[in-house]
Point group: C2
């Protein structure tokens, strides 16, 4: 790898891999180049595991800041920059600027793309003006703007190659998630579960921007791209129009199930994986039934979008436990057997291990002991066993159900976990927050909030801390170690072959811990709270660690949007009020390296 | 010093110096504590020289970033934080937030003061929404807001002790300069020379906020606080109403001479020093005469504001060469004699050395060989010998006079120089920019721009670089060494007893150079362009270097305000267009230290 990096010629050659009709060969080669950071998820498997070892557990304590870059934008900075060759691609929250920075010149700006977007998009973004990053494929950088415009930029010049609209902000549809490039397609999700948006995933042709397929989370089979016979749920065919059958009337048309999380791809099985979000409205009484396929893990064929299997984790959600969190693809032993699994840490507080080929449920265990809304998951039916005391439907409309754990933002939200094949452990940034939840009747108006619940959040019982950073054995479904954090860990983790795991905190610390023990090896106070994902790359033989600072996101919405009412920000503001004592709005990249 | 710092008790005792009726005893003691950074100018003498030596020319190359803080505000960050004891006070541009940060807790926010200000103040700020910092005195932090409100905050709690209005933004009067506390008074200037504001300096009682005196730059003697007999100009009494006698009609009432630079104080002579800005309008044809006392160095009694002596550097300005730059008080040899001098690097490109007791002119030499508007200063009359070719009055209204050096933003603007008694040299951040200047007739309307000239700026002939960082021998009036910089050096310098000089660049580099030779010893790319002033302090025995990043100010106004026309931003935008290739808007504090 280093030899490659030291030779400009070799690099150029690597960059110039002849592009076949499909881009995934290119990306599969590129993601094996650990010097680069090609995908917002590091790799198709979403491991966020780097094989780089220059920075390791013996020397990470010597880390220092190598260079920094202000993005020129404040508010929540989720996601991570990409590095391809000598260029770094940095994205920002609304207005979704993309910078190409020259790594040979201390981050000099090669090009800047700043879309013109209607600021009226901001009020329909439920949980800050975040964007989770850009994707690369076929010499292009793909950006999914807040206003749902999908744009392809020439990676060398920033020139717009094509642009298309994925949705309509006037209906509450917005763009926050990072695209994923698979084969010749750009896969895009949608946000807006709090506005009655019916979620979908759409594939666009990478070269032309033409829509290839769209799979809705609910609706008739022609919309959901389900085969009544071939598509299975825990091994059983889903049957005809399963995406409308568990809904009352036309509620599915404004049924939520948005798709704003991280996407995975298994090239061998040729399946993409993602999860769908909450059913709309948040008032469960207004939408009896299982509300399929909200809250569902989906495995689909990237060529035509047809679903191979589904698994609904939280039928008839009563707590806003969106199922959008990432699926990490790994080969690990489960109950003594080597299995090809996906591991998913759900908002509902259960860590799921599934056979990723068949959708068989292997493990479903709480990854925070505070979780109380369900006693356990029935491994046969896959259904969580809900506790009446914490059932907001059972308690009823206009009743304040108290002490529910986790809170709506889940035991984990979008902040992605990492997996180290070296330790066999998953490293999970978590929330340790509970809530009161009072559903109320709400009527639908396009583009208006369609929430129907008042929430307030607070630390889980027995302490004041709002988060933990944990190591998880997904074969056993057990916490191996857990580091309490004063606030939720809203940053994505990075594991490395150097035996180190990195994550950021809402106060702004970048932390490095021992992958085996969790012992803290390094911390540094970056300019603002970290909700971005830690990334790594090498340049001219030197390994770097990078992370975006910029407080915001759902947990930081009080600071980001200047909200002070405890129940504002969908109930999150109260719990995180003390944050302003630690950090202020920002928007900076901080890049670390060892002393030379 | 270190012993003091190691003892919390000793620190507390030092902090608890009994306050006499006057605060200057307290400040004189405090500014000798090199561990602290008590004043925005480091000391009353404006030397910006620290006696700290832990970081020195042998080890400064090992410097690394210790911690960072995002201010939550974008645009130009001028000035520097203060450090008193374990607390750092950080200010921001509009809306002029002040943070008290706990140095014992990685910059945790102890208190935050955020004034509510009318955003309509922003358009009457000629050269970005900058603020040059807060001052300390008598347990209070003094802030001069953009809307000219002067506010006294309890240093421990941030509680407002008193508040008063120094001017009226509706007339174009704004606040940008840092207050100076002298004895029991807070001394405040005013900005707005581009709006026909008549400049003044005002002293407020430190404890009550009551106005004690106000000295206008022009007007009758009762306004200017001049004594016709006792106040001298180059040794001669100024005579009666000298502040109206050189004006046509009532033009002096909208005559400019604003007072937005750095202030100095000599406790022995009991004199304060500052300079006045351009006469209004920028069209010289509209205001015949010398336009006294615009463009003037003033020495005044802090108790009653009466002027002891004056010196007008640029009579009848035709180029906007404001005389507001700082006076550095030093005791140096001049022509073989030890003299108590003030040294002033004027916008007009001349470096002046004067006897600070008498106002005798000792040296006046160009500190950039590009300066061409005058051949030299007549040492007897003190008048610059103007070259007709570059006289915008001589060329006349509606004529574009080309190739004038320096440009309106001067060979140096607000960016303060430093003086090292160790080397005897002055370290000066400079501009190397020339201009075309076309005056035109303009009529006065309160609160509207009253400029009357169209400008465009570009690099001085013979190169493409826009700045130099120079070492200057003020006894001889000679450049000792000069470091070319791609852009103007708009950051304030810091010299230390470690033999190092620090400054920042518009691309965002903090640089450390050898005080003797100018050899670069260290550079680091901070998040955004630096127009702040480098400061230093020690905490728990460790020396730190701090600097604010945040591109803006006059040189950075194109980026800061999103202007793209070459002649916008009073002509500055064109020259600095390439800046966006290097840096973006920011607002961060970066604090450096040696590895532990």
């Amino acid at each position: 790898m280093k030899a490659l990096l030291k030779s400009g010629v070799a690099l150029a050659a690597a960059h110039a891999i002849p592009l076949a009709a499909s881009a995934n060969d290119e990306l599969l080669v590129m993601e094996k180049n650990a010097a680069w950071y090609v995908s917002p998820t590091l790799d198709y498997a979403n491991t966020r595991y780097s094989t780089l070892t220059q920075i390791n557990k013996d020397n990470v304590g010597d880390l220092q800041v190598a260079w920094t870059f202000s993005t020129g934008v404040l508010r929540g900075h989720e996601g991570a920059p990409l590095v391809i060759g000598d260029t770094m691609y940095v994205h920002t929250p609304f207005p979704n600027i993309v910078y190409a920075l020259d790594l040979n010149a201390d981050g000099r700006v090669i090009w800047k793309y700043e879309p013109k977007q209607d600021p009226d998009t901001i009020p329909v973004m439920c949980c800050d003006t975040v964007n989770r990053g850009v994707a690369y494929g076929g010499g292009k950088i793909f950006l999914h703007q807040a206003d749902t415009t999908v744009v392809a930029l020439d990676a060398k010049t920033g020139e717009v190659k094509w642009s298309t609209k994925n949705g309509d902000p006037k209906k509450g549809e917005t763009g926050t998630n990072a695209p994923m490039v698979v084969k010749d397609k750009v896969i895009i999700g949608i946000s807006g579960g709090e506005f009655g948006v019916r979620g979908s995933v759409t594939a666009y042709n990478m070269e032309t921007g033409k829509q290839e397929w769209r799979a809705y989370s609910m609706g008739p089979d022609s919309d959901t791209l389900l085969d009544p016979q071939k598509t299975t749920h825990l091994g059983q065919p889903v049957g005809k129009d399963s995406g409308t059958a568990t809904w009352e009337g036309d509620q599915w048309k404004i049924g939520g199930g948005t798709t704003w999380g991280w996407y995975s791809y298994d090239p061998e099985l040729d399946l993409i994986y993602y999860g769908s979000g909450n059913p709309s409205t948040w008032n469960p009484v207004q939408r009896p039934g299982d509300n399929r396929w909200s809250m569902t893990i989906m495995a689909r064929d990237p060529d035509d979008g047809m679903a191979k299997w589904l698994y609904q984790m939280t039928p008839h959600d009563e707590w806003d436990y969106d199922g959008v969190n990432e699926m990490i693809l790994a080969d690990i032993p489960v109950k003594g057997q080597d299995r090809k699994v996906l591991v998913h840490f759900d908002r509902n507080g259960f860590g799921y291990t599934m056979d990723r080929a068949t959708g068989e449920l292997l493990v479903a265990e709480k990854f925070d002991p505070a979780v109380n809304w369900a006693t356990h998951v029935d491994m046969k039916t896959g259904r969580p066993q809900v506790v009446d005391q914490y059932s907001t439907h059972h308690q009823g409309e206009d009743v304040n159900t108290t002490g529910i754990c986790p809170a709506a933002l889940g035991t984990k939200d979008q902040q992605p976990a990492a997996f180290s094949p070296q330790t066999g452990l998953f490293y999970v940034p978590t929330n340790h927050v509970c809530m009161d939840y009072e559903p109320f009747r709400v009527s639908y108006t396009a583009g208006q909030p369609y929430v129907g619940a008042t929430l307030s959040m607070y630390p889980a019982p027995g302490g004041t801390h709002l988060g933990n950073f944990i190591a998880w054995d997904a074969g056993k479904g057990e916490i191996v170690w857990s580091l309490p954090e004063p606030f939720s860990v809203w940053s994505g983790a990075l594991a490395t072959a150097g035996g180190v795991v990195f994550y950021g905190t809402l106060e702004g610390y970048l932390k490095a811990v021992d992958a085996d023990t969790g012992a803290e090896l390094y911390r540094f106070k970056t300019p603002s709270g970290i909700i971005g994902n830690v990334m790594t790359y090498t340049h001219q033989g030197r390994q770097y660690i990078g992370v975006l600072s910029g407080i915001g996101g759902w947990a930081g919405i009080g600071l980001a949007a200047g909200l002070t009412e405890d129940t504002a920000g969908l109930g999150a503001v109260g719990a995180y009020k003390a944050l302003h004592n630690y950090t202020q709005l920002g928007g900076q990249l901080t890049v670390f390296a060892l002393p030379q």
